[in-house]
């Protein structure tokens, strides 16, 4: 696999010109993962209905949908859509496709969970979709997980045991894919996005509950992923080797640097003709670069599924505008150690974080997430202006302006911060907050 991977990378690097696209084309595709739910059915029964939905003509004709690792999960996608001439088409398609899935689920007496972690499923040996990659990859992680790692998860009194890589079956995210104008542009977009992720996570944190327990972690999804998938040896940790999840140790110097990192980790699966795709597919960074046909795509993966489609679109356009601003202004990158602190702050505390930022006077300082948001919001608007979608996007980003707390904090508040919650209470709270529809 490694040799095939290196050959395929060499092909990409030697023929960079085929990935060149017009810089002014801003092409975006969205993916969203949802959980299907019914309190009257087992996960396996829901899984059977999910498979039936995936094969039904009602959705397959118009909606690009697929299964995910968890048997109750479903993912839908938009095609790549240009937002250079306006945000309307992306909004329309995204909303339509979600509505389609929602209708089909409701017709089968299922509800849809719009949350980053499905709080109703067990972590240990939770049922997985019956596809080779969904069986082999978590098993590999479970076998090779370092024995000394502490897999009891949570920062409050309650701890949840997360020592099973199948925990990913519980997690839902939405991903923003942006087409890069070249390989170099892709690396630049990826590096800049790492720096932007913490504030986005603070705004969108939405996975605090696991197994009906309050972990106290506003966005637990990626942190639990990091712990359950830590297969590094002590020697590797001592040498400073990072995980293939979350943040890299440093920014990438260029495309080769990125692909070298991807190729260092075990491939687990054997599909030599797909080696590049497999390597990148198992490189679960907050942001990653993908080769899709003749396009270089930068994928933002750090954000959990939001309570509403509108919130996902708001975060998407905030990200697009802020990234554009960063590229146009040739903004200096925040040192990775500061990004690392910001990221952990955001995951633990959401909008209650204190984040490092470079203020309007160019001074590096810490401020509340809300203060940082308004600082960055102005920069995002400037970026959106150059894309040409300022007016629509400003309306779209309105939900963010009102955001004082993260969705997860709002849910915890409605559950009176109880450490362990009855499933029926949790279900009610999720319905009230539109996280279960």
């Amino acid at each position: 696999m490694r040799e095939a991977f290196q050959n395929q990378v060499a092909e990409v690097l030697t023929d960079e010109s085929r990935f060149r696209k017009k810089e002014e084309d801003i092409i975006v595709g969205l993916e969203s993962e949802l959980g299907l739910f019914s309190d009257a059915k087992t996960p396996e029964e829901i899984g059977a209905i999910r498979d039936d939905i995936l094969h039904s003509a009602e959705v397959t004709e118009h909606t690009d949908i697929d299964a995910e690792l968890g048997v109750t999960q479903i993912e839908f996608r938009t095609p790549p859509i240009s937002v250079g001439s306006g945000a309307d088409e992306l909004m329309r398609v995204y909303k339509e496709r979600f509505k389609k899935i929602l209708d089909v689920a409701h017709r089968r007496n299922l509800s849809v969970l719009r949350i980053g972690s499905n709080p109703f499923l067990p972590v240990l040996e939770t049922p997985r979709t019956n596809k080779p990659k969904y069986l082999l990859v978590p098993d590999f992680q479970n076998i090779h997980r370092r024995k000394s790692i502490d897999t009891s998860f949570g920062v409050n009194g309650t701890r949840v045991e997360i020592g099973d890589a199948s925990i990913i079956s519980l997690f839902q995210a939405f991903q923003v894919n942006i087409q890069a104008s070249s390989l170099g542009d892709g690396i630049e977009k990826m590096n800049r996005s790492f720096m932007l992720v913490p504030l986005l996570v603070a705004l969108g944190a939405n996975s605090r509950y696991i197994e009906c327990s309050d972990t106290g972690v506003q966005e637990s999804r990626v942190l639990a992923w990091e712990i359950s998938h830590d297969t590094r040896t002590r020697e590797e940790i001592r040498s400073g080797i990072g995980l293939r999840i979350g943040l890299p140790e440093r920014y990438f110097a260029g495309p080769s640097d990125y692909f070298v990192r991807v190729g260092k980790y075990p491939f687990i699966l054997s599909a030599p003709d797909q080696a590049l795709k497999v390597g990148v597919g198992l490189h679960w960074l907050d942001v990653r670069l993908k080769v899709v046909g003749d396009a270089i795509v930068v994928e933002l993966r750090a954000l959990p599924t939001q309570p509403t489609i509108e919130e996902e679109l708001a975060l998407t356009f905030f990200f697009l505008g802020r990234l554009k601003y960063s590229q146009d202004a040739r903004e200096e990158l925040l040192p990775m150690s500061f990004v690392s602190e910001n990221r952990l702050q955001a995951h633990l505390y959401g909008m209650q974080s204190r984040l490092w930022c470079v203020d309007g006077k160019g001074i590096l300082r810490k401020a509340s997430a809300r203060e940082v948001f308004f600082l960055e919001y102005r920069r995002a608007i400037e970026g959106l202006r150059t894309i040409g979608v300022e007016e629509t996007a400003q309306d779209l980003m309105e939900p963010l302006e009102r955001k004082i707390i993260s969705p997860s904090e709002s849910l915890a508040y409605s559950l009176s911060y109880k450490e362990k919650v009855e499933p029926s209470f949790l279900e009610d709270a999720l319905r009230r907050s539109s996280m279960l529809v």
Binding site: D150, V217, I237, E341, L344, L348
Partner: protein
């Protein structure tokens, strides 16, 4: 009996902090030219942060984390200290060294505090040099009471060799220097509270438990402190040490239950 009570009253055990972890991380300062920088006073003045403090050597500083139960919060504390420290270091044109055993040319300059002056005056120059040349990462584990402290202390003593190896980045030089500095470095197995007191009297730390320099010691903060680990720039490695100690603690607790 009063003497015994007085001795134990110096330890602030707290059941609310049982199992919590606090870390002290010592590091040398280097000038832009790569020489040792005797700049801890200026560094601390610029930083002005309660989580940072001085050490015996004027070339060394130390940061401390708050007691926390969760590895994630400990990691965040370490990152916060690191970033604040690196900003102050940048202003002063110094950086943190990765060394856990300084070279022999380390300037023998002592931080101007009465306690350090007293120490410097009371030991030979060879021991003083050894004391100044070591830097380490000390991990404190909160315990509820003296019984728990003794059990955890003894369990760590039983794992001492493995822990020393795990934390060594200098082919044993740091520990060699530590042993030159602290002749009584080897923690004994305490047979009970009274035995602990007897050892404290014999080794002259009954009046001030901070004068115990065993590689594992029961500290007046109500913790068992493990001083075997050296210096690493990787926060994940410190967290791995924490996990290793927590596993030992878990074993101790489960044996009691």
């Amino acid at each position: 009996m009063n003497v015994l009570n007085n001795f134990f009253s110096q330890f602030r055990f707290d059941s609310a902090r049982a199992g919590s972890i606090g870390i002290e991380r010592e590091r040398f300062l280097l000038s832009e030219e790569g020489t040792y920088a005797p700049s801890s006073e200026e560094f601390l003045k610029i930083l002005d942060d309660g989580n940072w403090t001085h050490e015996l050597s004027l070339c060394q500083v130390e940061d401390r984390t708050r007691p926390e139960q969760s590895g994630l919060k400990i990691k965040l504390n370490l990152l916060e200290n690191d970033n604040l420290g690196s900003l102050a270091a940048r202003k002063l044109h110094v950086s943190f060294s990765e060394e856990e055993a300084a070279q022999e040319n380390l300037p023998l300059l002592i931080y101007p505090s009465p306690r350090y002056r007293e120490i410097a005056a009371s030991v030979s120059s060879a021991r003083l040099s050894a004391a100044c040349r070591v830097a380490g990462t000390h991990i404190h584990m909160g315990v509820s009471n003296i019984e728990e402290a003794l059990m955890l202390h003894n369990a760590l003593k039983n794992h001492l060799e493995v822990l020393c190896e795990l934390g060594d980045h200098s082919n044993g030089l740091r520990l060699k220097l530590y042993k030159e500095m602290a002749i009584r470095w080897n923690p004994p197995i305490y047979e009970g509270a009274e035995h602990f007191f007897e050892i404290a009297k014999q080794e002259e730390f009954s009046e001030n438990p901070k004068n115990c320099y065993h590689l594992v010691r029961i500290s007046p903060y109500g913790t068992v402190e493990c001083r075997v680990f050296g210096v690493t720039q990787h926060v994940d490695e410190i967290i791995e040490w924490v996990h290793t100690l927590s596993l030992i603690r878990k074993e101790v607790i489960s044996n009691v239950e």
